[in-house]
Each structure stands twice: as C-alpha cells, then as structure tokens.
C-alpha cells in the first residue's frame, strides 16, 4: 500500500514540476522546478529498487546539470520574461497529444513478458555491487565504459574551445 501511495505522489510531483517548467515564464523558477522534478525521479528510482541510480540522479542531475543550467541563466540576462512560446503552440500540442495517445495505446495493448523473479529478489541488498559485477564481470561493458571518458574529455575540450576562442 505504501508503495502505491509513494508512486502516485512521486509521479504527481514529477509531472506537475515538468508542466511547471514549460509554463512558468520566469526561467529561474523553471530551473528550480526542474530540480524538484529530478529529485522526484530519484525517488522513483528508489521505488524501483535501484539505489545506485538514485544516488547518480541526485549527484549528476540535481548536483551538476541543474547548477550548470542555473549558471547559464545567471550569465544571460533574460530571466524574468524570456520563457515565452512561439506561434506553433497549437500544432505542437496536436503533435504531442497524438504521440502521447499512440505511446499509451502501444503500452496498454502490448503483452509484456513480466518476469516474476523481481518479487523474489531480496530488497535489503544494495544494487551497487550487482551493477559493478554486471559492468566489470564476464561479458560486461568494459569497452563502452572506456569510451565514456574519451567522450567526457572531448566534451571538456570542446566546451573550453567554444567559450574561449576569440571572435571579432
């Protein structure tokens, strides 16, 4: 019972915060609502028994990406009335409504092969060691994991180049 209540509360917070992000005109308040949305999503990860991903969500999204976005808002001066919408609101709303209806129809009608192992899994062990064994063990993901640092290095270099190269 507690799980259901937690899910509905977290889902309501997530969706309301996301709607707030796209409706509130003040960009800084939108960023704060985005933080609330990320925290609620971390709660959903905990509800799904993935504590490591919840920690990652808090550390990277709430701690790093939101700060980056707030920094960007502070450095550009269009804060209070910049979050306006363009003239494509109605077509965009139609597109989004049609795609949402399509996705929900597909989700509801598909016969998912729900595994019944998930109920048997112990809840009290942390998923971090399981995840580490999956990544670093046999048939793991060592190569993708080594590509990620290259990507991050390229990101750092490109970000520095983009903001420091002198222009006329």
């Amino acid at each position: 019972m507690g799980q259901e209540i937690s899910f509905w509360v977290l889902a309501a917070v997530t969706v309301c915060a996301a709607i707030g992000v796209i409706t509130i005109r003040n960009v800084f308040r939108a960023a704060m609502l985005l933080v609330a949305c990320f925290v609620a999503i971390a709660g959903l990860y905990i509800l799904l028994k993935t504590d490591f991903l919840a920690a990652i969500q808090i550390l990277i999204y709430v701690g790093a990406i939101s700060i980056l976005l707030v920094l960007g808002i502070m450095l550009t001066h269009e804060i209070t009335h910049a979050s306006s919408s363009n003239k494509f609101q109605i077509p965009a709303l139609l597109t989004v409504a049609v795609s949402l209806a399509g996705i929900i129809y597909a989700v509801v009608t598909t016969n998912w092969q729900i595994s019944n192992v998930s109920d048997a899994l112990p809840i009290d062990i942390a998923t971090t060691s399981t995840l580490a064994n999956r990544i670093f063990g046999e048939n793991g993901f060592i190569l993708p994991l080594q590509v990620i640092p290259i990507l991050l290095l390229a990101t750092v270099i490109s970000a520095i180049v983009l903001v420091t190269v002198k222009r006329k």
Binding site: A11, I22, L48, T50, S118
Partner: protein, 103 residues
C-alpha cells in the same frame, strides 16, 4: 491496484511528451535544454522500469542508464557552451533570433 510496468511506462511517456512540447515551442535556448533533460530522464525511467520488471537478473537497463547519464552530462555541458558562445556574439539566446545559418 499494484504498481506495474505500465504505470512507469505511461509516466515516462507523459514526461517525454511534456519535454517534447517545451522543446518545440519555447524561445529561450536554456529552457529548451531543460526540456531535453526532462526527455532524457523520461527515457531513463522507462529503461529502469524495463530492467526491473522484465530482466531483473541481467540488469542491462541499469547499465544503459549509467551511460545515458554520462552522455546527458556531456550534452548539457556542450549545449551550455554553445549557448554562451551565441550569447557572446548576439546578446540574445532567443532561438528565433539566432538565424546565422538560415538561408
């Protein structure tokens, strides 16, 4: 009514569509970046839900989410750098006014 896979998938779809709408209609480039982050997060929720409900033993979905988070962080950093460069040149981050590559 227990919470199943469909609940998480529909929540993910709703979040994705909210983010898509924001990314389509907003003028401010930073708000568009925020909406893209919402869309990435909705995809992460779907991946974790699939991992927990369909393949709970081989948790490939969780591994996928770790890589997605790394790529999302890289995307946010490069996106902000591009926005700063454009703001430096144009004194505006309104995407309707950024038309230097428009014919």
């Amino acid at each position: 009514m227990t919470i199943g896979l469909e609940h998480y998938l529909i929540l993910s779809a709703v979040l994705f569509c909210i983010g898509l709408y924001g990314a389509l209609v907003k003028h401010n480039a930073i708000v568009i970046l925020m909406c893209i982050e919402i869309m990435i997060n909705s995809a992460n929720i779907a991946a974790v839900a699939f991992a927990q409900f369909i393949t709970p033993v081989e948790i490939t979905g969780q591994v996928l989410v770790i890589f997605t988070v790394a790529v999302a962080a890289a995307e946010a950093a490069v996106g902000m750098a591009i926005i700063f460069a454009i703001y430096h040149n144009h004194k505006s981050i309104n995407v309707n006014k950024i038309d230097l590559m428009k014919w």
